[in-house]
Symmetry: C2
Subunit: 252 residues, 2 copies
């Protein structure tokens, strides 16, 4: 049974304003809730159907207080069209310091005004696949902890470190030896380069590309060759990032 | 001014049943409508705001009958949250014969039960970027001409050939020399192969992968290596296809 106060609290977390005020965010659906529970993140409330508990008892920590709920309640409180399994409230992770040596020892993904939560979630999932040390978001990006972003990460929200930085201010502070890579139709053909996963790969918004101030911070422009008979003018930002990341990680 | 009959007709095309009955589909938004008008597809009705006409007169064929509409009307008739520019009704293209020699002379993308129209549209856009001769869809895929798919193609709907085939019946009819490629965690590392763009690349649904009957038609299983410290279990179907296609096209 869900109290009125808990219901109101959960619903308030649909909005960024309340996620920030309460330092908490929503995790919806059984798969995402199980990823949360097996991660370092702290779960504040876990609402589950009796059926879900019966199916996943082995993966639910014994000390965990569960609130048994109906499918109707989970759907009412959340943002999914239907939720037949589980919903949790998790604490927003505190931002860890961004190690100054990082872009020399690993590849960071930096996103400049990526406003679509679906694209952002897909990019976080990609960062998780390649084991990137983290993702740096410009203040104009979609919220990494909005319900849509969390859903699109397919569980990666529980593992990927996220930092928020004004990219045009942050990138110039990096040591000169750090490569700052970006996609550019006039850039170097990635098929002819031997890239190593170190530095920062900056991806811009789909409609406007990189903002001029961030664009001017690039030290290396990369181009994904289009097929000889190809027609499309561009690729989706997550698709471009995937192809570029695969090119960074193929020479290990 | 839009007649009641035209309005009803346009709205009926939100549904596949009526798209098939009338042999027509919707194209929404200025960019997509301009792509339609510069393609070989036939536009049956073109509804535009006066502002859009003023801005794009040079790209609108002189013989074209335009119906001047308000933003409110375009939004009411279509599926977009707002449409301030244009909406067209296009004839569904007739399916051309699938040349029997094709998979030897070019790379076809085949999709097995890709049910999400956003993913399907992104995949068609990707096929357009690489200039693939076309995409073969299993009957269980999303409709290539649904409004959501068309929007996600970002204009590629006007250029990419689409065929519908029962993949488990069609793939075995291909000459033995044709490679039938698919993604498989136990497959060969694509970074260690020299792939050429010929044959068929089959991608399965995100939740279930390839159906068993299609999976058994593969002659070559490909694996996209995950980062050494990567956490994600899988990649989105369009992301996987993008990385694989880049690996097919890098050795030209």
């Amino acid at each position: 049974m869900i109290s009125k106060a808990l219901g109101k609290y959960v619903q308030s977390l649909h909005q960024k304003k309340y996620r920030q005020r309460h330092g908490a965010f929503l995790v919806e659906g059984g798969k995402s809730v199980l990823e949360l529970l097996s991660s370092d993140l702290e779960a504040e409330h876990v609402l589950v159907t009796a059926e879900f508990v019966a199916q996943h008892r082995a993966h639910l920590p014994a000390h965990l207080a569960l609130t048994i709920s109906t499918e109707y309640e989970l759907t009412q409180l959340g943002t999914l069209a239907t939720n037949t399994t589980a919903l949790a409230v998790a604490r927003l992770p505190a931002e860890k310091p961004l190690p100054a040596t990082l872009p020399e020892t690993g590849l960071l993904l930096a996103l400049d005004e990526v406003r679509d939560p679906g694209n952002l979630g897909t990019l976080l999932r990609l960062a998780d696949w390649y084991g990137l040390p983290g993702v740096v978001l410009s203040p104009g990006c979609a919220d990494a902890y909005s319900p849509k972003t969390v859903a699109a990460t397919m569980g990666a929200f529980a593992r990927v470190h996220v930092w928020e930085r004004d990219l045009a201010a942050w990138l110039p502070t990096l040591p000169a030896v750090v490569g700052v890579f970006g996609a550019d139709l006039q850039g170097d053909n990635v098929h002819r380069l031997t890239l190593r996963p170190s530095g920062v790969l900056v991806m811009g918004s789909e409609s406007h590309g990189l903002t001029p101030a961030v664009e001017s911070c690039l030290t290396r422009r990369l181009h994904i060759p289009r097929g000889a008979t190809g027609g499309a003018e561009s690729l989706n930002v997550a698709i471009s990032a995937a192809i570029l990341l695969d090119n960074f990680f193929r020479n290990q």
